[in-house]
């Protein structure tokens, strides 16, 4: 199989990840619960992983790295903690349902007002202008994806954060497609939510929430669940400090061990888009550029790519005239090529880009893909 669906989950995983999970399954007990060797080993796994993440994301304090089940879990914690009852939340036009649905629920139950800005595809300057205008009003929270999971469009989150910081508005960044691909500074100010199983090459069931230090705009988040933490057990309230405040129940130390190995793989390989761009090349990398050239030369194929590719990460969408994207993906799957079609859980992104109702076919190379894989995909599309 030629696997080109790394934006959903990276596959294969590095050998070191499999090895780390296997060792943890054999050796680790309940982290922070007992004082015996197996419990200590599990606690070490957790702390080492927090340290690796803190290093990768340039954070001073590893305790501000929170383990979650996935990016959606992290986003739910952050959004539900920071969106006040009756407040106004501003988002980009490219948000995933992991952002859209929690906000929809808050709008129904807590009277939160949600403004989805019509930020056009691959126009970062316009995005900054729109956020600037929106933030002149009374805004409680900004939530913005770093990279569109459909189009690979890199949103100008640093500039949007600067607007938020000046106005004292907290910001949450959905880093589902950027973690492990683009530089992220966890101490810079926004809350960053990310999965462990995509660009960080860890197992599924892992995610991270990076909390900035208080001076950088941080508040005290509330967990979605309460329970045991292995600390202050006689107190009926959850601890008031990170990370335990947000980590109720036995942590997934086995998979977290794999996440640690995955992040070390990223560190060793160097921060790069899953497409494995050469140094100095656009973030979308060599494979996306090659793919765009090959596909756009095929009659009836429309590719969605940033003009210079500098505004694009390792994801690209395309459509084939007269063909349902799901049909295209199914035919490619029959030829042993794995891509994803449809709305990619991001209907707002398709509405913004004008690719409703059918959506697109999304291609997302990973660390183990080669130019040959992309060439075979283009050849298969040509034969459709």
């Amino acid at each position: 199989m030629i696997y080109l669906d790394n934006a959903a989950t990276t596959l294969p995983k590095p050998k070191s990840v499999k090895k780390a999970v296997g060792a943890a399954l054999r050796e680790s007990g309940g982290a922070g619960r007992g004082g015996h060797a197996a419990a200590v080993r599990a606690a070490e796994i957790l702390f080492e992983t927090r340290e690796t993440a803190a290093g990768l994301f340039r954070m001073r304090d590893p305790e501000r790295v929170i383990f979650t089940c996935n990016c959606t879990h992290a986003l739910n914690i952050a959004i539900k903690s920071l969106a006040p009852r009756g407040g106004r939340v501003v988002t980009s036009g490219f948000e995933h349902n992991a952002v859209v649905r929690p906000l929809f629920r808050l709008s129904r139950e807590n009277g939160v007002k949600v403004d989805v800005l019509p930020t056009p595809l691959f126009e970062p300057e316009t995005a900054v202008e729109l956020f600037d205008m929106a933030l002149r009003g009374d805004v409680s929270l900004v939530v913005c994806t770093h990279v569109s999971n459909v189009f690979g469009y890199i949103l100008p989150i640093e500039r949007i954060w600067e607007l938020c910081r000046r106005r004292g508005v907290p910001m949450i960044v959905d880093a589902a497609q950027s973690a492990g691909c683009l530089p992220i500074r966890g101490d810079a100010g926004p809350y960053y939510c990310m999965p462990g199983h995509k660009g960080l090459y860890g197992p599924q069931g892992t995610g991270l929430l990076l909390c900035p230090p208080p001076a950088g705009g941080g508040g005290v988040l509330r967990g979605l669940i309460e329970g045991g933490t292995g600390v202050a057990s006689a107190d009926p309230a959850m601890p008031n400090f990170y990370p335990e405040r947000l980590e109720a129940g036995t942590p997934n130390a086995h998979s977290i061990a794999g996440l640690n190995a995955g992040m070390r793989f990223v560190v060793e390989r160097g921060l790069a888009s899953p497409a494995g761009r050469p140094e100095g090349a656009p973030p979308s990398g060599g494979l996306i550029a090659r793919l765009e050239r090959s596909l756009s030369a095929i009659w009836g194929v429309t590719t969605y790519a940033a003009k210079d590719l500098y505004g694009q990460s390792g994801v690209m969408s395309f459509t084939v005239e007269g063909r349902d994207p799901e049909n295209v993906a199914a035919r490619l799957a029959a030829r042993g090529i794995a891509v994803r079609a449809g709305l990619h859980c991001a209907p707002h992104a398709h509405r913004t880009a004008g690719t409703l109702p059918g959506g697109t076919v999304r291609v997302s190379p990973g660390a183990f893909n080669t130019p040959g894989d992309v060439g075979k995909l283009a050849a298969a599309v040509r034969r459709l």
């Binding site: 922070g32 004082g35 606690a43 702390f47 305790e63 202050a232 057990s233």
Partner: protein, 93 residues
């Protein structure tokens, strides 16, 4: 500063931390500075609200350890010393 120097006769000293995460963080920090330090659970009668963790350090290094941790903005801490018979007493800092 300690006014009581009898801790030198103790087996080990435990610097109580808010959680296992902090105990590990501080243990690593101290080891990085050449001190002997490891993470352990606090005896239950010493943990105020049940289940606590600590950094275990050599009695002769307690003063240095606390100064180091303080220089990183950590603390104040409660410190307990364990005697040869398993008895513990809190150090007055």
């Amino acid at each position: 500063m300690f006014y009581d120097t009898s801790y030198h006769s103790m087996i080990s000293c435990m610097v109580a931390c808010r959680s296992v995460t902090y105990a590990q963080k501080y243990s690593k920090l101290l080891r990085k500075h050449g001190l002997s330090a490891y993470t352990r659970k606090l005896p239950s009668h010493l943990a105020n609200v049940g289940c606590g963790h600590a950094v275990s350090v050599r009695p002769g290094q307690v003063r240095t350890a606390l100064a180091l941790l303080g220089s990183y903005g950590a603390g104040p801490f409660r410190v307990f010393c364990e005697g040869p018979g398993g008895t513990t007493e809190e150090m007055t800092l």
